[in-house]
Symmetry: C2
Subunit: 416 residues, 2 copies
């Protein structure tokens, strides 16, 4: 039963903590490099002496987290031995519990997907769903064929709100019956794996830091375009979770003064103006999509949204205008967040991102730049995630990798 969140009274540190921390620092440097690093390069990058690097490298080699991969000799002298991550050195299982679909992945140390599966989210009792999830996890692990002793744990991404202390799901809007369900305990019990629970948007941000390459470094906001809209926050390479793990709730940022009334009492909240369901409804009203107004449930919306994108791709002006408006509205919300946090980058992703990315990438950067309060000082990079559609589940698995291997400041401090 591990805790993600930080205790408030700041505690001291000691020698073993320091050693472990430096180990993770070196691992991170190797991880973030493309193509591995030699010991000498590591010494320069992390600022430790070559001897220390050697010692820690040995520990990493013993733990099979890294491997020596060839030599790089340029000029005279002994060629440098390149150290790379050992993909098979550690694995993590990730589950994304979405109101519509549950996604499962097994990740290796590089953050690559080794195995993956999906199932429609069963509607019944949470306890039953959890049992199904646990079963599916066992199947997945077997199918993947990975060494079970190398599996560091299980990460679970769930819709907010959550209670990080309890490891529970607290009444998410689209998962009725999930009221304070302690999914962490339940899955630890059922699978025997150390389990971490976090919000889907936070998980997506963690995925970006671990598997997203260059765009996952530094300070950024991950805009998650799913059934709803939310963001994950990373500042100086560390994820921001907030007091209870609920950071990133941006749904009620007002972006459209003429927008529809929201349940919060204001008009034009981004969650009631720019989420796929609303966009689809708008398209229907405008006659871009035909009038069948059957269901507003997950798959239905997804399908109709895809239809709208198809039309836009085919050049339908009205469809394009609708997507463009949605991009404008989302950009306003993003501006609020980026101005509040002064990040250097915005990463878009999530299940609905793939289809709308051209329309967003064409408009959002300029809009953000115009509204950037720090415009005179630095620009604001806008990119789509390289992690892909399963970013929720991949992020869930990355929660485990991050918790185990990332150089979090928290790792240095003594426990309460």
């Amino acid at each position: 039963m591990t805790e993600i969140r930080q205790p408030t009274p700041r505690r001291g540190t000691n020698l073993p903590r320091m050693g472990d921390f430096n180990l993770t620092v070196i691992l991170e440097a190797i991880r973030r490099s493309s193509g591995g690093l030699s010991r000498v390069e590591l010494a320069q990058i992390v600022g430790l002496s070559p001897q220390t690097i050697s010692n820690i490298s040995r520990r990493l080699l013993d733990q099979q987290l890294i491997v020596e991969a060839g030599k790089e000799g340029s000029g005279p002298g002994k060629p440098r031995t390149i150290l790379r991550l050992n993909p098979a050195g550690m694995y993590a299982v990730g589950v994304h519990l979405d109101p519509a679909v549950i996604t499962f992945v097994v990740l290796n140390l590089l953050g690559d997907v080794v195995r993956h599966s999906r199932m429609a989210t069963p509607g019944g009792d949470p306890a039953g769903v959890i049992t199904s999830i646990a079963e599916q996890i066992q199947v997945l692990i077997e199918e993947s064929g990975v060494d079970a002793t190398k599996i560091a744990g299980l990460g679970v991404a769930v819709p907010g709100p959550i209670d990080l202390d309890e490891g529970s799901v607290v009444e998410p809007p689209l998962l009725t019956r999930w009221n304070r369900v302690r999914i962490r305990e339940a899955l630890t019990e059922a699978t025997g794996l150390e389990t971490l629970v976090d919000k889907d948007v936070t998980s997506a941000a963690v995925a970006e830091t671990w598997a997203g390459g260059a765009s996952g470094a530094g300070s950024f906001v991950f805009m998650y375009m799913g059934t709803g809209i939310g963001c994950g926050i990373v500042l100086n390479d560390e994820v921001v979770r907030g007091t209870s793990g609920n950071a990133g709730e941006i749904g009620h940022i007002v972006v459209d003064p003429d927008g529809p009334l929201c349940d919060c009492g204001q008009r034009g909240c981004v969650k009631s103006s720019a989420i796929p369901q609303v966009v689809v409804a708008e398209a229907q009203e405008a006659g871009v999509l035909d009038g069948r107004h059957e269901g507003s449930d997950g798959p239905e919306v997804q399908e109709r949204f895809a239809e709208l994108c198809d039309k836009a791709d085919a050049g339908d002006e009205k469809a394009i205008a609708i997507l463009a408006k949605s991009a404008t509205l989302v950009a306003r919300a993003v501006s609020v967040v980026t101005n509040t946090l002064d990040v250097e980058r915005v990463v878009f992703g999530g299940p609905f991102w793939g289809r709308v990315s051209p329309y967003f990438l064409e408009r959002v950067p300029a809009l953000l730049d115009t509204n950037n309060a720090a415009r005179m000082i630095h620009g604001l990079e806008v990119v789509g995630t390289g992690v892909g559609e399963d970013v929720g589940a991949i992020g869930a698995a990355c929660l485990v990798l991050e918790h185990t291997l990332a150089p979090r400041a928290q790792r240095l401090l003594l426990e309460g």
Copy 2:
């Protein structure tokens, strides 16, 4: 010439860093306690062994940062020796450069104001203003009578935007002619003091962590009610500055769909709907304040705003309604920030806070609670700062104390 901001490639740590860090941890524990702590209590709180605490205490005593202050004997056994901060152990000078007024303070280690002065902000050339500031600092230090060798440095709080790397002021809306003025260099040169520059709202947040008592711990947002509106952000006891030091720009959060058009193109931004200048204008239109529409400059607004508050205090319904509306609008903006960051507390402060506090404290907590996305998990505390009106200048001085003595994770890492 010190840098506040963090380098991105995370670097390792070593023994001396660890020792220094633990020293700051212990100092912080003593600082945050009311009335000092014994060595045994410290050992429990920070998690280090009693021996280590003893050793570090000795270092702190040698540096005269703490003093042994009496004994506390309850029951049998040797009574505990209480360790307290030594107020005279360190001093810091703070300057708040506001468009209307420049405030100077000298702070002791406890964060108490030892000496303080003000001057109207001269309108001329920035270079001339900086010279005046430097002169005034010398005068203040002399008048304060503190041991000059104990002055750790100079902190300067300025309106944003700033460039933290350059230590410069970058075209703030109300300080024309201040275009990329490298005030940090200039004041280091002119005063001989190590100088730190930061945004006024960030400084205010730092003031709260250092001199604000219990409300300055953990994760909170400091809402600074000044000529404009902005916020400082503290997460897990560490200030969030952002990539370039410009975090906390929340002026363009939309809070009033029927509000006035803002220069950003949207309607009802908090900075164009709820800042004192606008509130005063509104009161004038409503006939609560008489029609003289002379100046909209700093002192004028301040005076008329005070007049409005007087009327409200006297029971004028219309005046109260206007302040109540302003509270509602500000609360909406605060909700956006608290939901984005999931903090546990909102601290209000700034020059205009004192007068409006009763009207805000009566309404804002309930409004925030209603909009709190994590309502089911934890509440949201709302308090007024205990630091007072000079929170900008005090915060500026606290920048120095924080930089020198706070247990920032950054302190552990090797330099680039």
